[in-house]
Assembly symmetry: C2
Homo-oligomer: 367 residues x 2
């Protein structure tokens, strides 16, 4: 794996040099992990003129943070040695860099100022989202971690569906799902598990309450596993009891159609906004245009909410090997609603089109 990380650093270095900075300071944890294989708390990566260095405030712990790339020099700051970002800038100056690109969207004003005061002659440039952009297209190793995470989430969800649900609270169901994720080998949940019943169902990122599952409820569940740092997402909506009401079937079919339209529009070269529009217009033309979430989906990877954003104003086009969620939903205040959420990998049609990672059925199950 260490060649993978070294190759990623080389690509980033090429980008930096093209924009006039011989060295860069990476501080955003997911970016540090992407480029080094590990991200101990507070660690920063110096992409130096002559040498790359991972600076950690304490000794890295490979059991919990992943193993740092062997081609990388790791330096542990001892005691109250201050901010690793400042130490890194100082080292960059020592390597005779005249300019250092920093992640201005992550570095605070106070840290930026501290760097300037310690190494005033170093020109500070903006690295922007260069690492986030590198992260958008995944390699097969990364996709394989997402695939395993999705299998784990499917298993956890499948087991829950076999148990008795009526009378249990949203909070308990969410905790049980998280336990099952870990049982099946996840590092942990990819984000706080959402279980929403009755009038709460269909709300995006609903935080579980003490409401109990009742006959006739919609039950919507959204969960994901983290596997080797990679985070996936699945969301499904069920109905509790023997037969769904007419409005429930109608709403479900509508959201299902919207989600399918989104999925089917995933292809290399498709504009982000067109994927969003494909799903959104199904809901819009049925009169649910108001109050829809701002996103139809988003990228996933080392973070659960990465680029790209599938939204009306998003700029850009999908590439092959970009994993995204497609997750339209409708929530009717006071009544509840439906969300259906899959993680898929964009693939060319010649390879069979989008690869569905979360394979739990999307039929409307009555539980």
């Amino acid at each position: 794996m260490s060649e993978v990380h070294a190759a990623r650093r080389t690509r980033l270095r090429d980008r930096c040099q093209a924009s006039g900075s011989a060295s860069a300071l990476v501080s955003r944890p997911a970016n540090v992990r992407y480029l080094t294989g590990t991200a101990p708390q507070g660690a920063v990566l110096l992409l130096g003129r002559t040498e790359d260095l991972l600076l950690c405030p304490g000794p890295p712990d490979d059991r919990t943070d992943g193993r740092p790339d062997e081609t990388l020099c790791v330096q542990t700051l001892r005691g109250p040695a201050g901010d690793p970002a400042v130490a890194a800038a100082d080292l960059a100056a020592g390597q005779r860099a005249d300019s250092l690109a920093v992640e201005e969207h992550h570095l605070t004003v106070a840290r930026h100022r501290a760097i300037r005061s310690v190494v005033p002659r170093l020109r500070l440039a903006d690295l922007g989202c260069a690492v986030e952009q590198l992260r958008v297209v995944k390699d097969e190793e990364e996709i394989s971690c997402l695939r395993i995470g999705a299998e784990i989430a499917d298993q956890a969800l499948g087991e829950l569906l076999e148990s008795i649900l009526v009378g249990r609270t949203e909070r308990h169901l969410a905790l049980e799902l998280e336990r099952r994720l870990v049982d099946h080998g996840a590092d942990g949940p990819a984000f706080p598990t959402s279980v929403a019943t009755g009038p709460n169902s269909g709300r995006r990122a609903h935080r579980p309450t003490d409401r109990r599952v009742e006959e006739g409820d919609f039950l919507s569940v959204c969960l994901g596993a983290t596997y080797r740092g990679y985070r996936c997402e699945i969301g499904r909506t069920f109905v509790i009891g023997t037969s769904p009401a007419g409005w429930q079937i109608e709403l479900y079919d509508l959201v299902f159609a919207a989600q399918r339209a989104g999925r089917e529009s995933l292809a290399p070269g498709a504009a982000y906004r067109d994927v969003d529009r494909a799903a959104r217009q199904v809901l819009d033309s049925a009169g649910y245009g108001e109050g829809l979430p701002v996103l139809t989906g988003h990228g996933v990877g080392l973070e659960i909410d990465e680029d790209p954003q599938l939204a009306p104003a998003a700029m850009g086009k999908l590439d092959a090997c970009v994993p995204v969620t497609v997750e339209p939903g409708v929530h009717l205040p006071g009544r509840g609603g439906v969300r259906i959420d899959d993680t898929l990998v964009v693939r060319p049609e010649a390879d069979g089109g989008p690869e569905l990672l979360t394979i739990t059925t999307k039929e409307l199950l009555a539980l």
Copy 2:
């Protein structure tokens, strides 16, 4: 409660005005919550010249984020309206402020730059850690939330001790503790629950692995509950089996003595570093000075790791009504170790001295 939040904002306003800024922008989530009673994701507080305003990227949800103070004006940004911090700065300029104090230790360089470009004539000053300083001394309402949180953590831990432990993994025990916290009314765990067995025992913030509890192990557990936003912490070490080994008893007694020395030195007016030294020198004089954690304890409140820090180089003195942890520990690589961690509130001797919130026994239990 709303008068409480309004009074806190008045105190902050007085501080700002004393340092020459008529308005302030608070962006750090725990600080926003402290001053308003709520902190929806991405929300910022504008402490304006004429009016205070909570700016939210989406509608606040009082079931999950707490209820915003009624004396406060809440404004929801619709659609992709951009950064609430930029919108707040724009409003400050509209209220004819000529200077705005921002949290430079939280605001990123990119956001700071965006504010400057939208309202170039507004002078940006540094609010520093003014809100964090206000947060150090707690009122009785806040302490009561911590007390309830500590009771919940004690209950969860007590129940675990009654169950069979041998053969279960660290990860399962941690998940079970978290479930019990929620069962007993916690909002959730205050931080990732740590369960460490055998050679892992005694490590600070150890992340649970698949190692199973064995006869003869030390078992160290650290958990906490969040209750109405307030986070407490308790840590205990047990021994598994009928009779602890000699080295286990010796090490336990030593860490217990260090922890007691730290607890007994808590008093209004005591220097942070003296509390640290009281605990540290017990371990140091027994030959464990190397490899000790950098902290003996820290403040708790809306965040689990707040000011003050009880550490060798910390500057400052304790006040009454400051809740802190006292948590020395020793970890012997390959063998394991002991941590003992309490949350206490500093009280004057006339009021009975430090108030212990986490009351689970600190006798060495053989389970």
